[in-house]
Amino acid sequence: MGQVLSLIKDYFGFLFVLICLGLILFYIYSDRNRPKINLRDIQAFKHFRREVDLTVEAGKRLHVSLGRGNINDLQGGAAFIGLSILDCCARAASNSDRPPVTTSGDGVLTILSQDTLQSAYHTLATEQRYDPTNARLTGLTPMAYAAGTMPTIHDEHVSANIFAGHLGSEIALMTEASERSRSLSVAGTDSIPAQAVLYATSDEPLLGEELYAAGAYLGAGPAHLASLRMQDILRWVLILIMVIGAILKLLGILP
């Protein structure tokens, strides 16, 4: 019985992934000319865009904190989003006097952030601006990472900090450093206790899945918008499954 259930679970899982993929491809195709929806306002992204412009104007620096998520683990999703945001930042701030600086708490993530920066500069034909030490590993444990990031926030003329990745409650130390150095902090993480901390300590907390919408809000491409529409469809599908399933269980129809 257990094996059958796990088999069904596996097939359902694969089916679920295929549905997600199909929806994304469909929306990429259907919205290729003009997106058919607007996105609800998320203040954090508005401020983020403005802050990037101001940072470039003021000749200051953007700091993107990618967290310590191991990409071979569940937290990898947040880390990948952090890299997408880093790409947007690198492009937006490419003409700034001070290129963005990236901090991460994982070896693979550090190298990926270096690659992201390098390829962003490469596509903008400003590869000479690429400096590998602008994508840093600041510590290998959560607290070491937070403590290693704090001096970067304090000392490197940072005017805006974007925390996007897997970060725990130690994120409060970084947002505090950001507040003390009077720079804006836009923060999102997949850890729910960290979101609770952010809610109280950050200027612009990104709650729940808002972090994963960053690409669509920052204009990273139609695929991001399409995947957001996929999420919107599937959230209703999940709600329906939960409600109908609960009713059937309540009526004793389902075992």
Binding site: D10, C20, H122
Partner: protein, 207 residues
């Protein structure tokens, strides 16, 4: 070559990802190749860690040349890093000297940083309503206060039974509901992010 390399990278990412994904859902068919690829990824993560440590050292090595107090900190960091690595390598991760370094330098600082967190959080809590004067901020603070009072018998006052029960209910019912919704949302976002990479749309590896 400059055009071929990015495409080749994307193909590598997509194919390796597909095999691993299929391995999760059809373990009997793709389980073998999946475990091999994941085994490689785990060992590669260790090599990446070496690169990360090299990067950490390089960043601070560069800072040593710079003016100001930051170069002293960088010197201290490099010395601390090298000594720890040497000692732990020779004494072993659970050797006496490794433990001495751990208990002397790492443990106190790490606990102290979380102690600092306590002050930061209570300060943020006290300022929150003036920072974001909204109804949901009020609800947030009321919840925080109920949970705090319900967790511990208050000094001089003792245990407040109704709040204790309310705390239990909040943690059991609405908090679980909210957490579940948040987790599901995050999971949907994660699936979308992973799929964009497997489609070759997002290429964090560059190219």
């Amino acid at each position: 070559m400059k055009k071929i390399l990015p495409i080749a990278n994307a193909i590598i990412a997509v194919i390796s990802g597909l095999f691993v994904l299929l391995g999760y859902f059809f373990p009997k068919v793709f389980g073998g190749i999946q475990s091999v690829l994941i085994g490689w990824a785990i060992i590669l993560a260790a090599f990446a860690l070496l690169l990360g440590i090299f990067n950490l050292a390089m960043v601070h090595w560069k800072k040593i040349g710079a003016e100001g107090p930051s170069n002293i900190n960088s010197i201290v960091l490099l010395i601390s890093l090298i000594i720890t690595m040497i000692v732990v390598s020779f004494s072993g991760p659970t050797g006496s000297w490794s433990l001495w370094i751990f208990n002397t330098f790492q443990l106190p600082v790490e606990i102290s940083l979380i102690a600092v967190l306590a002050v930061i959080l209570v300060y943020a809590g006290a300022r929150l309503l003036s920072r974001r004067p909204k109804w949901y901020t009020g609800l947030f603070l009321v919840t925080v206060l109920i949970v705090l009072i319900g967790s511990v018998p208050l000094f001089f006052i003792g245990e407040i039974a109704p709040l204790n029960a309310l705390r239990g209910w909040l943690a059991q019912v609405p908090a679980v509901a909210g957490a579940r919704g948040l987790l599901l949302g995050v999971a949907l976002g994660t699936v979308a992010t992973g799929l964009r990479i497997l489609m070759g749309v997002d290429r964090p590896y560059g190219g």
